[in-house]
Amino acid sequence: MKPVLKQKVAFFHPTGFIDGNNAIDIIAPLDIDELVRLKPDGIFISLKKVIFFNKRGICILVESLQRVREKNGAIIGFCDYNLKKYSMIIDIFKDDLFFSLFDTCEIAMLFLGNTPKDAGEKNIIIYHDNNEYKNQLAIELYERGYAPLSAKDEIEFTSKARMADFALRYSYLGNFDKNPTVFIRENIIIYTLKGFVDSTMDNSFDMLYHNNSLQVGFKVFLFDASNVSSINIHGVQFISKLSIIGAEYEAVVAICGLNARKISKKLVHDLEDSGVVIYPNITDIFADKELLAQTHSTQSVVKKSKGITKELISYLPVISEATLKTIEILSKHISVRTAIKIQPLEPLNSQEALSVTLGFYGDIKRVFILIFEKQTALECCKILLEEKHNNSELLEALSEFVHIVGGKIIQNISKMGKKIEITMPRTFENLKDIITAQKGKKGAQIDMRIDNKPLSLFLTK
């Protein structure tokens, strides 16, 4: 069964009955290999459509998840259950509950997904019979930028849960110990470090994700060391190395949450010498307006020395065909190409335009940008959206849509004998941001009209 990927979290959605006969087919050996390769931060099994499971079935699923966790440290667990299913899991695993449990998929995403802009305004209520577990959940959310409310008893929880955006009643953090986990908050990539930061970072850190984030234009990378026990010279060297790599892209690497117990003075100086910016804690970085401004006002998303080449142009037909076909399928409109130009990015003349960037890597390295009219974006994403949605859900759906386009491009490029992969898409709500990010860079731009509304595709190195 293929998992559904949401940011860096993979969700399995089995249906019906789970027992010793079929559990092995829910996360098959091929799925395990794929998950090891994908290096997700979390892998969860949704029990929403499961009507019955037995001990043997659930143990096989946990064993399969555990096999992935052993290889890449992913956080594993279950979500979308009711009290009955929760009690059964607790009963089966008793004192050996090493995985995480989250009431719903959406709640799992609070802990493992990117932090939305309005995180502080989300109405989150938490209650757990065990005070320690309740506090762990609250602290973890607080550190991610949310402002959860911890109910003092079940009565308070029940009365407030009705009005809450998220109500955590049967959630349990478990071994929430992936080192590091990553999420994006206000355009800052935050790596949460835990325990000992040493030479093991080399294996557990997803370097590909980091490089791709640099490629698509992220400018600030923060290592949150609040929950770290200690950092040794190997850990410092690793972070310093990232700071030096980042300098080529004009990116800043910062660290927060350090103190004298965790790191020696000399190592702090080493970090500073390699350009790592040090903040006392995570709130200080979000109070630094100058730094936050830097996440938007940037010169170029890639190294300046690179320009367009004949090779870049040669992939244009394949990329544009895959893109247009997907847009036509999902928007139900025919596209008409109006112009193909080699020029710096010239965006649509529109008040309400949304744009997405996507990086390719592997045999071909490119940055791909799509700029939509909001209405076209809505039509393309209609099938991915619920009837009622807000702007951030539209942006998320647009990001999923461009990820789909990217998947199609991978297929078509592979027919040419080239192997490529894609980064996670990055969405821009504001046209100014994407223009600034691409300032002075030439690329191939295809202008087209979908249902008489403009759409631009820009491909650059």
Binding site: K2, T15, G16, I18, N22, I24, I383, I404
Partner: protein, 266 residues
């Protein structure tokens, strides 16, 4: 995307029931076993199908059953009628499966299991309505309908399956506003199934209609049976475990009762 005309064209392309099968069903309805077996004998493909189904391991007969009259005698007219209805469904079977990694052999296995389990369930819950017995035979047709309708939008379907947790039926509802069971009921009507059978099939996916009257219990069991049969390893491997959009909230006692019935030997 799926248009109304694509769906209508598909329904129009469903062939009518051949005269020989109609006559055979008529004879069964008149409880004339010899006449029904003689008519069935004229259709070699039907005889072969009956032999294949009845000799599947799930029926548990020690010796191979070959003679049509023998098959009719052993199974009884009600179950033979179910199998003949299942044979109708085979008229729709594609030569090659494109959307699902499925084949004729697996399809016939599914038909046999559904027929057998459904008969057991109706017997145990004391539902005597013979028209409900036949309802199970048309349900595998939903799988064929899904395969045929989604062929032209295969790319969109695979995109949606990767990015969204949507069952095939949920995708169909989003694209056309119709459930798989509504389409199955239309086919059943075209094949002149009894009115109560048609209504029962359409009700399987209906979670809004509050009162299902005398059939309420049978409907809960048929939903459970479908969820159960579509959770088997074969169905998971064929990406068919999330074909339907059925409710997953069942009473614990009902679930226990269901387990007991399913585990009983034929």
């Amino acid at each position: 995307m799926l248009s109304k005309s694509t769906i209508n064209n598909y329904i129009d392309s469903v062939p009518p029931v051949p005269k020989i099968l109609k006559d055979c069903i008529q004879a069964i309805n008149e409880a004339d076993m010899i006449k029904a077996a003689n008519i069935a004998d004229e259709d070699k493909a039907l005889v072969h199908y009956l032999q294949q189904i009845v000799n599947k391991p799930i029926f548990g007969f020690a010796n191979e059953i070959k003679q049509t009259r023998q098959i009719f005698g052993i199974l009884g007219l009600a179950r033979v009628k179910q199998i003949i209805y299942s044979y109708f469904v085979l008229l729709l079977l594609p030569k090659k499966w494109e959307v699902f990694s499925f084949d004729t052999h697996k399809f016939q296995d599914l038909q046999a299991r559904l027929i057998l389990h459904w008969s057991k369930i109706l017997e145990k819950i004391g539902n005597q309505d013979k028209n409900l017995l036949g309802a199970i035979t048309i349900i595998p047709a939903t799988l064929i309908v899904c395969e045929m309708l989604f062929r032209n939008v295969k790319d969109t379907i695979s995109i949606l399956k990767v990015k969204k947790n949507m069952s095939y039926e949920a995708i169909l509802i989003k694209m056309s506003g119709r459930t798989l069971f509504e389409l199955a009921a239309i086919i059943a009507k075209k094949w002149e199934f009894p009115e109560t059978t048609i209504e029962f099939i359409a009700d399987i996916a209906d979670v809004k209609k509050g009162d299902f009257g005398a059939n309420a219990r049978a409907l809960q069991f048929v939903r459970l049976l479908l969820i159960y049969e579509f959770s088997t390893p074969v169905m998971i491997q064929s990406s068919l475990s999330d074909l339907f959009e059925l409710p997953s909230d069942f009473d614990e006692h009902l679930l226990e009762e269901f387990h007991t019935i399913i585990q009983e030997q034929f």
